[in-house]
């Protein structure tokens, strides 16, 4: 599974409150989440997310179990997220809602094209390719199905 997008650099320990604030959780309207994603981190970020691959620091998605966090990123057009490691509930949630992610410590160059292969395990930022642990077959299975809902919908 290969993804390509424009590099967007963010820092470490970005928690789920910063991805989507608690005050926007009382709805099922996904457009609301996409509109307010990262609002408390940087209100100018949301419009820049379409087609982006976010390269971020350690522990991305720490905090609450709110699935609205990966959903908001996906709805805003984020292609994938790359971090040295993720908070574990966010990791599961992202796979479950079909948002690709990969654990990799790689350099981040704003605006440069990024390609990552989740099954082969590598990330290319501009001219630099960095190896990464590939996603497990289990995760890839869910992700390629389009998320856990699709995965279960097609199971007997």
């Amino acid at each position: 599974m290969r993804i390509t997008g424009k590099c967007l650099c963010l820092g470490a320990d970005i928690d789920t409150d910063q991805i989507i604030a608690g005050r926007y959780l009382r709805t099922k309207d996904r457009a609301v989440w996409a509109e307010h994603v990262f609002e408390d981190l940087d209100p100018l970020l949301a419009p820049r997310l379409k087609g982006a691959i976010i390269i971020t620091g350690n522990n991305f998605g720490c905090g609450s179990s709110r699935e609205q966090a990966p959903l908001a990123l996906r709805e805003a057009g984020v292609v994938g997220v790359i971090a040295p490691f993720f908070a574990r509930i966010f990791f599961r949630n992202a796979i479950n809602v079909g948002l690709p992610l990969l654990e990799c410590t790689c350099r981040c160059e704003e605006g440069v094209m990024v390609t990552a292969d989740l099954a082969e395990g590598w990330v290319q930022v501009g001219g630099t390719c960095t190896p990464a642990p590939p996603l497990s077959p289990r995760m890839l299975g869910i992700l390629t199905a389009g998320g856990l809902v699709e995965y279960w919908r097609h199971r007997p």
Binding site: G22, I89, R138, W152
Partner: protein
């Protein structure tokens, strides 16, 4: 020779297992998405509804038509399918589950990150997202990666005004916000026997703030006595030698009252370092510190005095509130000028009432102080109940003293 996680999940650390879940729950915040995902998965089951629960605690009672309609749908779903339902006002999901509904050895999955609280019973209890829980409704199972273990070795006994919350903030600071990612914490050592169930629930509650999958105590006589008060039996568990990825030693006798500074739960300092910081709000409650023992400690601190700043007290459950009403603790708290809210999560996540304004500072007994969490432009300091009570009485962060 296995860790408690390895024993309960039945495989060595690092392996993937598919396992039936003994108990799974969602609340009004995550349940809405769980229901949507379950329907999209094909409306199978729900499998073993007697093992499922839906508990309203996040936005209670409903604040807008949108919330009320979402809650109506979820309430009707629970009733139609014979799923245990806990109405607004019954309390925080983790607290209600802790009141005799979780037993040692069980595998528990909640659609909330602080499900790790219930590891205090010697259960493998962890938080997942809404769609994972929908898959449990659909199949009765889920997958786990068996975590490696970090041993938190407790010795000594808490002294003076130090509380389990201070010990919890101390280990979080020691491990850091990502120090236990993908791992499980096991609390062991001679110090364990000095801790009440309330203390243990507080210690396990903060496990997720280190990135841990869960925090666990081995069930012992204290666990058994607590469960017996609910008419339940809890068999003791005995630690085996096991490999762990890290050991942390914590002498409870050395723990002193601390606060976590905005906006990181792992940035702690002794209370005296920030004494005098003006406060606009004090909040006592949450799944960390909203139990009867916490309200009793608050009452002890404020008896016959008046708070100097708006102070919001939210009991963790109806049972807690009822006990506080029976024993006079509630009256003492009200007489001191505190306001008391509906049992639930209260202002913890800034979604419903008790929101703080721009530039305002809240001293809270909760578990998270992320930027803007309780209101845009506000700051949150985290502390024990005694430190929060001392702050409430003086309107400034104050070192708690024996009342």
């Amino acid at each position: 020779m296995r860790s408690l996680s390895e024993r309960l999940l039945g495989a060595p650390a690092g392996s993937y297992v598919d396992r039936p879940v003994d108990c799974s729950y969602a609340h009004d915040g995550t349940g809405v998405l769980t229901l949507e995902a379950w329907r999209a998965m094909g409306e199978r089951g729900p499998v073993a509804p007697e093992r499922l629960a839906i508990l309203f605690d996040h936005i209670v009672p409903a604040n807008t038509s949108t919330t009320a309609n979402l809650q109506r749908e979820l309430r009707e779903f629970a009733r139609t399918h014979g799923i245990s339902f806990s109405e607004a006002g019954e309390g925080i999901a983790h607290q209600v589950m802790s009141e005799g509904r979780i037993l040692p050895g069980e595998v528990v999955v909640g659609a909330d990150s602080h499900t790790c609280t219930l590891g205090a019973f010697g259960a493998f209890a962890t938080g997942m997202g809404a769609t994972d829980v929908a898959a449990i409704w659909t199949s009765g199972m889920t997958w786990f990666k068996v975590p490696e273990t970090i041993d938190v070795h407790l010795t000594g006994r808490l002294q003076g005004m130090a509380e389990a919350k201070d010990a919890a903030l101390t280990y979080v600071s020691c491990l850091g916000m990502d120090g236990a990612t993908y791992r499980a914490l096991e609390f062991t050592g001679d110090g364990v026997s000095t801790l009440t169930m309330s203390d243990r629930l507080t210690l396990c509650n903060l496990a997720v703030e280190t990135g841990a999958k869960t925090g666990m105590f081995y069930a012992d006589e204290v666990t058994a006595a607590y469960l017996a008060s609910y008419g339940k039996k809890g068999e003791p568990q005995h630690p085996e030698d096991h490999s762990c990825s890290r050991e942390v030693a914590l002498d409870l006798s050395d723990i002193e009252p601390v606060v976590a500074l905005p906006h990181r739960v792992d940035s702690i300092v002794p209370v005296e370092k920030v004494a005098g910081t003006p406060l606009h709000q004090v909040f006592i409650g949450t799944c960390t510190n909203g139990r009867y023992e916490d309200l009793e400690r608050l009452a002890c601190m404020v008896r016959g005095k008046k708070v100097a700043v708006r102070t919001i007290v939210v009991p963790a459950s109806r049972a807690v509130l009822q006990k506080a009403a029976r024993t006079g603790v509630l009256d003492t708290i009200l007489a001191a000028g505190c306001m008391v809210g509906t049992p639930g999560c209260g202002p913890c996540l800034g979604a419903h009432m008790g929101v703080i304004g721009e530039g305002e500072v809240c001293l809270s007994t909760a578990n998270r102080n992320f930027r803007n969490r309780m209101g845009v432009g506000g700051s949150i300091y985290l502390s024990s109940v005694a430190t929060a009570a001392a702050g409430a009485l003086h309107g400034r962060i104050t070192v708690p003293e024996v009342p």
